[in-house]
Symmetry: C2
Subunit: 297 residues, 2 copies
DNA sequence: TCCATTCTCTGACTAAAGTCAGAAATATCA
DNA sequence: TGATATTTCTGACTTTAGTCAGAGAATGGA
């Protein structure tokens, strides 16, 4: 990452912000304040719970309440208590609100079209394909990886997804109880740790590490959500776990895997893992890998 | 331009705006209001005239004045009358203001670096190159083309740039008086028209058309500023002029050019122009071209 | 020299956005 | 059942952003 690359990112930010400015003018184009327009948009055709809106837009509850009253006053929105939990309230669009929403939608579409309109067909295709790349990789860079507890709701959810995928992909199905997989508690200090990847707050991947003192550390339960595959998250989790293992003084990392997880196997090989003999007797595994770690400094 | 392309542009807008949001938080990160921070940034290390700031930021003069007073009050900015014209005032940063500006600069750099930081080297290169493409083509799509008077300040400026370039590139130099180039007045209704291309308000290209009734119309003084070459503006101007000629009932468009303007010649050829005999006796020309126009409907 | 124009500033506003401290209703759990 | 937490709402604010009219100084051109 050199200065020229950073300068390019900054130039890009400037131009993209200029265009994004046009986007908020799309909202401002209506005579409605931006805050109200954004809220109307966020409620959407299907409606939304007020607490969700608060979280998504990051608004103060008092302020949000007032915005809702304003939209209600204009006959665009109706707010009713939730059937299941009467503390929670749901906002839905009235027929007039839906018309207004459609109008915003169509403005947004017109704006997008106006970006392509002045370009020749060749440049148009070139721009769309570059935008696709930028969107994909910008999304990748929005993913944060941090140590969390495997017992947290997000941690449990990822592990559940992981098991479900194994059940589906292994020839024999998969039952966590039969596997020699460690108890979640093992992936917590002092014996190990658990990394969780999040995109916009939602969990999208995980990976566990178990440290065995001077022996090689074990990498377990690496999982990446299907919607973010191909963005390099697997490799990122892997190298982060290796770093943590090195910091803990492990001379190497080891892992096992099933023959059906072909992408994982090729990622391990290309990340410097060499196949070794069965070291843990895991009944679901067909391959065992190890990577020597350079000493931490 | 199909629905899938438009959808991609919208997805891109969403993600890029999300990142751009981080950008305004960079400003908000300081405890200073966004408006003040933007102004401080825009004044820059070299200072700026107040009227320029007003134009660049698009602010009301009263509002700008108050923002300047606020920054002055904090000891970040000094405003002094311009030496040449005492109506104009220049804003410059005080040493403290420079420190503040450097802080914003470094925040912006850190933000840009944080976009690349989570990516592998391969993805990093891929992202930077896609950003470059997006920036280039988004800039192209920000260029507006409109009919203006060739006598307007912007029109004159473009023509002057055009002449200067011919002087430089023609083997024989160039003197508008010797050329059979038309008087600017001819490129105005009813005999013709003049197109001017602008990027963020600044003129970046032009092209004139002279209509000869039922005879082929003539295209004259096509010029594209060096900094926006390669973005398809020449072709855009050309096809717009052809459209105007067709609307005026011309059966064809004609033009002449000098042998040294090789990019122009190849653009004419690839746009459907065929070489014809000298039709106007222009002393500086070596090639004459014509393109038949399908009748307008 | 006078008149129109340019440029900046001040005073007097408004609207939008956001904050904070409770109150009230409902749900959850020991 | 009671204590605690969650969710939304209202009232009473502040700050930011922006508009508009007009004053006053300086300039440029007839």
């Amino acid at each position: 990452m050199d200065a020229a690359q950073i300068a390019q990112v900054r130039r890009f930010n400037r131009v993209a912000t200029e265009r994004a400015g046009a986007l908020s003018e799309r909202f401002l184009g209506r005579r409605r304040p931006l805050g109200q327009a954004r809220l109307l948009w966020e409620i959407g055709r299907d409606g939304a719970e007020v607490r969700d809106l608060r979280a998504r837009l990051g608004l103060d509850s008092g302020y949000l309440s007032r915005l809702l009253r304003a939209l209600e006053g204009e006959g665009l929105v109706a707010v009713r208590p939730d059937a299941a939990d009467a503390r929670v309230r749901r906002a839905t669009l009235t027929p007039r609100g839906v018309r207004e929403w459609d109008e915003l939608e169509s403005r947004s579409e017109t704006l997008a079209a106006s970006v392509l309109e002045p370009l020749s067909e060749r440049h148009e295709r070139e721009l769309v394909s570059a935008m696709k790349t930028v969107e994909r990789l910008l999304t990748a860079s929005l993913i944060s990886v941090a140590v969390e507890s495997p017992r947290s709701p997000a941690g449990r959810w990822c592990l559940e997804q992981y098991y479900a995928e194994l059940r589906e992909r292994f020839d024999t199905g998969f039952d966590p109880a039969t596997s020699s997989l460690p108890d979640p508690g093992e992936m917590a200090p002092p014996k190990g740790l658990f990394l969780l990847a999040r995109l916009r707050g939602e969990p999208v991947g995980c990976g566990g590490l178990i440290v065995h003192g001077e022996e090689p550390a074990e990498i377990k339960r690496m999982w990446v959500a299907p919607e973010v595959r191909g963005l390099g998250l697997g490799r990122r989790l892997l190298s982060e776990l290796e770093r943590k293992a090195r910091e803990a003084g492990a001379p190497a990392t080891r892992l096992d895997t099933n023959r059906n997880l072909t992408e994982a196997i090729s990622m391990y090989r290309s990340s410097g893992y060499a196949e070794i003999a069965d070291f843990n007797g895991e009944p679901y595994a067909h391959h065992w890998f190890e990577k020597r770690l350079p000493p931490s400094d």
